[in-house]
Symmetry: C2
Subunit: 415 residues, 2 copies
């Protein structure tokens, strides 16, 4: 939670934290400011003190919406800094940061955060480090960073926003299923558009994009709608020119975000239109079985990776490769069971075997559960994914309900 | 141009370049890969050699679409690295990068690029630097970076993509104007929706978002649609609950991007619905006059900032503050004249006074021209912006045509 930040600073022995970059598409800055059109800002928080946000003068009104203390870069006009730096752009930026640090009395161990241009950041900080030996910059892995740790547990207000995105997400999935199952089908089992031409992945994706836009649900990292072999490669987004056909596995993994860089939802269904090949049905049933088994066994405060182990053991018992015994498998069960969801589409707690034991099903975490099987050479792939909230009372709450049917019956086609 | 990269590496004395991060929302990586759903990738190019792209095994198919040589992180399994690093996440990432560098024989001066998590990047590189004293990492300011310099001039294919976004942009602007001028108007000059309730900025923005989605034009950094005082603050995005009224200045600055993180277009019009206040008309006419004057005087290979000077001189002659004589003015003409547009919404050439002389109207650049005046206390602001291509034959080509009317006549209302 946000109120954990000072305690985390204490635990990490940080005297101050600095967050750089824009308020959008930059999770730590969004977390601190609530978003808005504020670019190239610098947020500074000393331990035990309130955060101060420096921004461009033109963006003062947008920045003020954050409710934070706002100061303007104009206090240190660029043209003056430029002269002081003899036209050296890196030094100019380092000098501005130095003046900001001196104004606020920042020194000691300073945690560094944000999603920004790494070239300019690395150059500026390296120079600033020479100007200010009294400061020690501290970087952290994403997984163990202060912000990912604070964000790991959510307030009810945050959960409400994720649930709202879940509602939009499942509405769009329902519209997609209704659209697909209403299509005419050619003799060769290709779906047809109203004008009689073949329906492509690209056509379906365009409709999905519109349905998302109507709901202010932004596919900021795209979405996966793939068929056949592509469905067998977990992160293949789908080939726009592929034709929609009956009896092929379709993986639809959709993870829209609030407009302006806010909270995500994450959801996957696998479908086979009209009928399923027997082998596909068998593999789907396995994915469904372990999904159900994981859900039945989830217990408060257990490390998330324990369920990755359970999933691997199950899939290995069925003869599939998994990351438990095969490093980086390219078929079978090839990823981890799930991840936290928030302002980051992937965040703590993680469930991979290298995840730390403190990434647990603690009260307040929001996680995905998403077992899958992938056989690109067989032209098929499967994944079922939902997003759950571990409630303060210890119950796992599904944040958006949707049926698990694998075969979707076509309205105008019978086998 | 992309083919300048080796020459730029030579000029900057770089033995290799490393680009990190995802292919989307990361201009240098998009430039090298053409986009696609490839996250947390590492691209390495030694001078005079072809680029190699390391990616997660699951994303190999998406990565292959780049046409680059693809290698998989799975060559160095994370679980092994994790053991080698005794569970230290930063060291684990540094060890992986070290193995990649050793595999490819990377050493010497290595330019660092990409838009990524700065905390993990800073931590990893600081550790890697200790492991590999034979490597010197080089960061650059955005403005002077190798990629911004390469991207500064565009191929005809790149210009065609920007022009296409311009077409979509002006179509959406036309739909917006048609919608607004068709509204009923209440006695107090507030515009009404079909259901008789007042039309808000939020309502208009929602329509614009839908029209953009229909065209696969993504408002990845939002857009500005603001009225009255907000129009007087250049980067205020507009307050969703503000009512649409006659006779108020409306600044509509729209800069959509190709889906998946490609090329932008940048465009602004200022409108006053039904009628204009005399002072507003006068200020608008000044903005229009200097816009026209700049266009008439633009010459091939002149430093862009010369036109910033021309614009400031004109506005000062009319009694306005400008950055020429006032550091960081908060009213009058408060920004610079324009900027390059490409995969970045703001890129070289820049026109601010601190821009280098080599940021010129060279053949192949694509720039905005956007003079404006801002008086938040008077409740008004003005900007006119179009995007131009400096053609190889030296002519300035407007990439999307749109009328410059300030007062938009209301179809169902007369003064």
């Amino acid at each position: 939670m946000k109120y954990d930040i000072d305690a985390l600073m204490q635990a990490k022995n940080l005297d101050a934290i600095v967050v750089i970059g824009s308020a959008e598409n930059n999770p730590p800055m969004y977390y601190m400011t609530g978003g808005g059109h504020v670019s190239a800002a610098t947020l500074i928080k000393k331990r035990g003190e309130k955060a101060v946000l420096y921004c461009n003068d033109m963006e003062r009104d947008e920045a003020a919406k954050s409710g934070l203390t706002i100061r303007l870069y104009g206090e240190y006009p660029l043209l003056e800094l430029f002269k002081d730096a003899n036209g050296d752009g890196v030094l100019m930026m380092a000098l501005r940061m130095q003046r900001i640090f001196n104004t606020l009395g920042v020194k000691g161990r300073v945690g560094l955060y944000g999603h920004e241009d790494v070239s300019a950041t690395f150059a500026t900080l390296s120079r600033l480090q020479k100007l200010m030996p009294e400061v020690e910059f501290v970087g952290e892995t994403r997984e163990e960073s202060l912000f990912n740790q604070a964000m790991e547990t959510k307030s009810e207000e945050e959960v409400a926003r994720i649930r709202e995105m879940g509602k939009h997400t499942t509405e769009v999935v329902r519209l997609t299923a209704e659209f697909l199952t209403s299509c005419d089908v050619r003799d060769d089992e290709v779906l047809l558009k109203k004008d009689g031409s073949p329906l492509t992945i690209g056509d379906v994706k365009q409709k999905i994009n519109l349905w998302l836009a109507e709901r202010d649900a932004v596919p900021s990292e795209g979405f996966i709608f793939s068929i056949g072999r592509d469905a067998g490669v977990p992160h293949s987004m789908g080939n726009p020119t592929d034709l929609m056909r009956l009896g092929q596995t379709i993986v639809f993994d959709i993870y829209p975000q609030e407009r302006g860089g806010g909270y995500f939802y994450d959801f996957t269904r696998t479908w086979s239109l009209g009928y399923a090949m027997p082998e596909a049905q068998e593999l789907y049933d396995q994915v469904q079985e372990i999904y159900d088994k994981v859900l039945e066994n989830m217990d408060l405060n257990v490390p998330f990776k324990e369920y990755q182990r359970m999933t691997c053991e199950y899939f290995e018992s069925k003869g599939h490769k998994t990351p438990m015994n095969t490093p980086a498998p390219q078929e079978g069960y090839v990823h981890s069971l799930g991840h936290g969801v928030g302002i980051n589409i992937h965040e703590r707690p993680f469930s991979g075997f290298q995840a730390s034991d403190d990434q647990r099903l603690a009260p307040g975490v929001v996680i995905t559960v998403e077992p899958g099987l992938y056989y690109p050479e067989k032209g098929m792939g499967f994944r079922i994914e939902d997003t759950y909230w571990v409630r303060p009372d210890g119950k796992m709450e599904l944040l958006a309900d949707y049926p698990y049917d694998f075969v979707l019956e076509m309205k105008k086609w019978k086998k």
